[in-house]
């Protein structure tokens, strides 16, 4: 009997704000009367009582402010309810007179509409308070429901068929209404967590809403549809539960959460941001690894021709002796070189295995897809970060931000907290000094000279490191030409070692240099980052250029080898039978076949070696620079002449910027190299995994919190931007080699083609219908592509322009707001004066009781904090009806009023009755103007909980 149960929930819902004994008594009475008629009501009633009790409890928390504000409204409401109920009873009494009931109903409806409207006005005026608005919403909803129910009750009683109410058709309108209500309730449930209420209140509201939804969801459908509807509802419920469980599962799957949290509490969010970044990188590399492993390496290993079947898949005879030596394997040559790990191993068969797996195509697409995916994910993350940051005018809230947002609540370590205190104090002082006088320069010439000198030194370092790398790479080529066997370990690993060492020591050098410059720490950090970035970039590109040289050399070599091959083949045949056309091909062991240099494998090897040696240096640096240093400082402090812990060596700090840059460049190498060495993502995953553990341990064990505790989020997108830049830079050489260098003739999946990308056209030709190839040909002709690019550029330009204009509009709005606020203030002052004069001689036509109340509120509000102009503003608005209702004054009023009335004291601080009370029931405006035009006019709905930040607040 859904309809009869309805009162229970609707009343309960209502009860959440109508916390009034009298009222409930009346209801109970009525209920009781209903109970004689329907036994089933007994159950709902008890539930209602329950809900009411809870609701009352919840309501009491806000009792202080709500009570006063609402008293008038409630009274009205109660009256109305009484009336309504009377009407209802009347209706049920006069069972034989449906027309009367209907009339009644109509009457009541119109009345209710009226009152609702009035309430709405009153409500809006009264509260800029959000919470109350919510309450009110619920309240209104409740009312609506009640009205609904009463109507139905009446109808039922009018027709005199209480018992068969289930078959009674529900009109479309009511159904729609009910549906709407259920939807609203659902929305309420979904957004409940956004409300700044106490848990108890939330709980009670939730329970009521859930009860309501449960009951009426089933009632919505009818006949056949009903079952389906119930089924649908059930499924959505199940789905929701599943989703929640899935969410839980997902968060449970996030690795290293606890580790990172521990670090967060010790070192603040900035250090933790590095680890979060590391974890993010790990995720990306996992996906890259999945792509290369699943689509390239595994198919080749399973379905491709086995090792030893082809020359490219066999270790050459000359190397066989040392192919299994550890030193060789560590160098990624020997057996490692002739395996799925590197480009050269793959065969150029179009399809392999019984699945007809298109190996070359897959190889090419994975290479492209890796880069495409990386671009997509980086840009998406950047966009999301940018959204979160919200942009906005940067410097306008400098001080406020320092004050309100500078504490990092994650800090749980007293030492870090002390550092944070110190840094906040310094930042305050700095800001004040900067504000007071725009930076006094003591000796501007000296500073300038030092800065120029510092930059000069930094440039020298950069150039020197670049030259060193170039020199070393050249030398290594010489070694390679003469044969590496004659040289020792150092000569073989010279390039990587030099690069790693440079990466290790140059940042320290830059640090020393930057102390010359005497910059503000934040600016200094930027310079430092920029220099390290330039260093890494320079090194990487020198390396690539040297590599290009080597590729060219190999290409030359290849030509010679090709020529030799023909001679070799000829000699092979000449030695045996001259008429070779019919004879079976001569069996030559694939290890003996001469082969080209295969530059692709060489490039892959170089990158793999670089990655490995980079990893090793990082770990060794951590072990020596952090761990050993910490051990030394800790234990030698007992027998040393000065305090080691606070003196010179001290413990190391975690170098966020250096570590992040290292990570980014490492990733750049992965992107560059993974086309030629499919194993690279796997190695990187391994590296990230171990470094997560090692660095977590090292940080917790041997580092001290930073003296300057930065906060993370500001730099997040900065790191991302660097990553994007590096991604772009590392794509360039990879794409260049793919597009413009012919692949080796005897190794790799693209051997025999003049360019690697020809695999696409080949596939189009063989695997797709001919018309597709034609369409593709048309689509890729420059006549179409150029306009397309032009279009994209234009749209970018357009979007850019729009965003700029939005920003300008924001500023404009802000200015307007300020001027309005000022005007408002002025007006209020005037009003205050006037109303003071008038208070002695009021001429309102309001009922005496409410006037008195309003006056009292007014007074009390004014007393309680006369400091607040704003409260005066609202209170006085009511005191001065003409002004308040004058439409000219509405507009300037709302921002200020809404700004002020917005705060919900929430039961605490009950000493303050917020001014809106007086507005809810304004004493001033006589009859027609009703509650006047409240300051919080509907046009300005205040700040909703989920509303976007920024200027929209002030719509």
């Amino acid at each position: 009997m859904p309809k009869n149960e309805k009162p229970a929930t609707s009343e309960g819902n209502d009860g959440s704000d109508v916390n009034n004994e009298e009222d409930s008594a009346a209801e109970n009475q009525e209920n009781g009367r209903g109970a004689d008629k329907e036994r089933k009501r007994a159950k709902p009633r008890t539930r209602r009582g329950h809900a009411r009790g809870r609701a009352r409890h919840g309501g009491e928390e806000d009792g202080d402010d709500e009570d006063g504000t609402r008293r008038a409204g409630q009274r009205r409401q109660r009256n109305r309810r009484g009336r309504g109920r009377a009407g209802g009873n009347e209706g049920s009494d006069s069972e034989g007179d449906p027309t009367k009931a209907r009339k009644n109903q109509a009457n009541q409806k119109s009345k209710e509409d009226d009152e609702q409207e009035e309430d709405e006005k009153g409500g809006k005026s009264g509260k800029g308070k959000n919470e109350k608005k919510q309450d009110k919403k619920a309240d209104k909803k409740g009312k609506k429901e009640k009205a609904n129910k009463k109507k139905k009750d009446k109808k039922k009683s009018g027709s005199g068929s209480d018992s068969d109410s289930e078959e009674e058709p529900i009109t479309e309108e009511e159904l729609a209404k009910l549906k709407e209500e259920v939807e609203e309730k659902k929305k309420l449930i979904a957004t409940l967590r956004n409300k700044p209420w106490k848990m108890k209140k939330k709980l009670s509201v939730l329970k009521e809403a859930q009860l309501f939804v449960e009951k009426f969801e089933g009632a919505l459908g009818k006949g056949k549809g009903k079952k389906f509807y119930a089924y649908k509802v059930m499924m959505t419920k199940k789905w929701m539960k599943f989703q929640r469980d899935f969410e839980n599962f997902k968060t449970a799957c996030i690795p290293w959460e606890m580790k990172i949290k521990e670090i967060e509490s010790h070192f603040g969010s900035s250090v933790a941001s590095y680890f979060i970044f590391l974890r993010w990188m790990y995720g990306i590399n996992m996906i890259l690894f999945g792509l290369t492993f699943g689509l390239v390496m595994v198919p080749e290993a399973l379905m491709g021709k086995p090792y030893g079947s082809l020359p490219r898949k066999t270790v050459p005879r000359a190397e066989e002796a040392t192919a299994m030596n550890f030193a060789t394997l560590w160098d990624f040559s020997g057996f490692a070189q002739y395996s799925v790990l590197f480009y050269g191993y793959y065969n150029n068969q179009r399809t392999i295995g019984w699945l007809k797996f298109r190996m070359p195509l897959s190889y090419f697409l994975v290479g492209v897809g890796t880069i495409g995916y990386s671009f997509m994910i980086v840009i998406r993350t950047m966009a999301r970060n940018a959204n979160e940051e919200g942009g906005g005018d940067d410097t306008s809230f400098n001080f406020s931000w320092k004050m309100f947002t500078s504490w990092d609540y994650l800090i749980g370590n007293p030492e870090t907290a002390d550092n944070k205190f110190a840094s906040i104090t310094t930042s305050f002082k700095e800001a004040i000094v900067e504000e007071q006088e725009s930076r006094k320069e003591e000796n501007i010439h000296l500073t300038r000279f030092l800065r120029v000198l510092a930059n000069f030194l930094a440039l020298c370092t950069l150039a020197g490191s670049g030259y060193l790398i170039f020199f070393v790479v050249r030398r290594s080529q010489k070694f390679a030409l003469e044969g590496l066997e004659n040289y020792g370990w150092w000569e073989r690993n010279e390039v990587n070692m030099v690069m790693s060492l440079l990466g290790m020591f140059c940042p320290t050098l830059f640090d020393v240099i930057s102390s010359l410059e005497n910059y503000h720490p934040r600016i200094a950090l930027r310079w430092q980052l920029g220099r390290i970035f330039a260093l890494f970039l320079g090194n990487l590109y020198t390396f690539i250029i040297a590599l290009m040289d080597e590729i060219n050399l190999k290409l030359e070599e290849e030509k010679i080898v090709k020529y030799n091959m023909t001679i070799w083949e000829a000699s092979l045949y000449n030695g045996t039978i001259p008429e070779n056309s019919t004879a079976p091909p001569i069996q030559v062991d694939p290890a003996d076949v001469p082969r080209g240099p295969c530059w692709e494998t060489m490039v892959g090897q170089e990158f793999v070696r670089l990655t490995v040696s980079d990893t090793m240096t990082t770990y060794i640096t951590i072990l020596i620079g952090d761990f050993l240093r910490a051990v030394f400082v800790r234990f030698f402090n007992y027998c040393w002449c000065w305090d080691l812990e606070y003196g010179f060596p001290s413990y190391s700090e975690f170098d966020i910027s250096g570590n992040v840059l290292g990570l980014i460049f490492n990733q750049g190498m992965i992107w560059m190299g993974s086309f030629y060495a499919p194993c690279l993502p796997a190695i990187n995953v391994f590296r990230l995994h171990t470094s997560m553990y090692l660095q977590c341990w090292a940080v917790m064990c041997c580092n001290v919190p930073q003296e300057r505790v930065f906060k993370a989020s500001r730099s997040n997108n900065f790191y991302m931007a660097m990553l994007l830049f590096i991604l772009f830079l590392s794509t360039l050489p990879a794409v260049y080699t793919i597009v413009s260098i012919p692949p080796s003739f005897d190794c790799g999946p693209f051997s025999g083609k003049t360019r690697m990308f020809e695999v696409i056209s080949e596939t189009l030709e063989h695997d797709f219908p001919s018309w597709f190839g034609k369409v593709f040909g048309y689509a890729s002709n420059p006549g179409l592509i150029l306009p397309f690019i032009l279009l994209m550029v234009l749209s970018i330009y357009y979007l850019n322009a729009t965003s700029k204009s939005y920003k300008e509009a924001n500023l404009e709005l802000k200015k307007k707001l300020q001027s309005q606020a000022e005007e408002n203030k002025r007006r209020n002052k005037q009003k205050a004066q006037k109303s003071n004069e008038q208070e002695e001689n009021p001429f309102e036509t309001e009922p005496p009781q409410s006037k008195q109340k309003g006056g009292k509120q007014d007074e009390s509000a004014a007393n309680q904090d006369n400091k607040k102009e704003q409260s005066g503003n609202e209170a006085k608005t009511t005191g001065q009806p003409q002004e308040a209702s004058a439409s000219s004054s509405q507009k300037p009023q709302h921002p200020g009023a809404a700004l002020n009335g917005h705060y919900p004291p929430q039961g605490r601080g009950g000493n303050l009755l917020p001014p809106p009370i007086a507005v809810t029931r304004p004493p001033g405006p006589s009859g027609y103007a009703a509650p006047g035009y409240p300051p919080g006019h509907p046009r300005f709905p205040g700040v909703q909980p989920g509303m976007p930040r920024g200027p929209p607040h002030y719509r």
Partner: protein, 213 residues
Amino acid sequence: MGGSSSLLPQEALGEYQELTFLNKQEILLAAPAPGLPRALPHGGAVVFASSSAYKRFSELLPREQRENACSVRVPKSQILTLPELRANPFQHRICHVFSTSEDGDDSMSFEDFLDMLSVFSDAATSDIKSRYAFRIFDFDDDGVLDGKDLEKLVNCLTGQGEEARLSSIEMEQLIRNVLEESDIDKDGTINLSEFQHVISRSPDFVSSFKIVL
């Protein structure tokens, strides 16, 4: 709730998930999961229902109260021993704002505790965070941040050390600057929506207004 059942009842757990920004693990981690000492007399068979969930909140309670941790209030002094709050200069304000205690001793029930964690959780919206931040900063609970509130706030932020304190001139200057920036309607105080306006522009408020267990 609580009573004899050893874990948080399933439905309550569901409701808490619905009402807070916490997920199941977080609630359980924060939740009392008694059963440790109580199960022992029955023989060593059972015990340690889930030691990972046997955490935070019930740890704050004396042993004999852990069984019905959901209905017991933890005194403020105990709450402040949480490492997450220990170093926080606003610890007293946080306790005060989230406590529903009637006698004003700022003790916290489990639900208050959940409320707090929810607001400080990662998933909470900037709106609700800023709302509570405002109440935390509003030292005299009068609904606006005036000069005195700001002064107290600055003193909290600069720490305990005497030499770290700002001089009165600096303080005055600072507060004047803050008001100049954020007090849009120029009434000498910062109200909630002005506060939220400022906060919403701040890039790192949401990421730093966070406490994790």
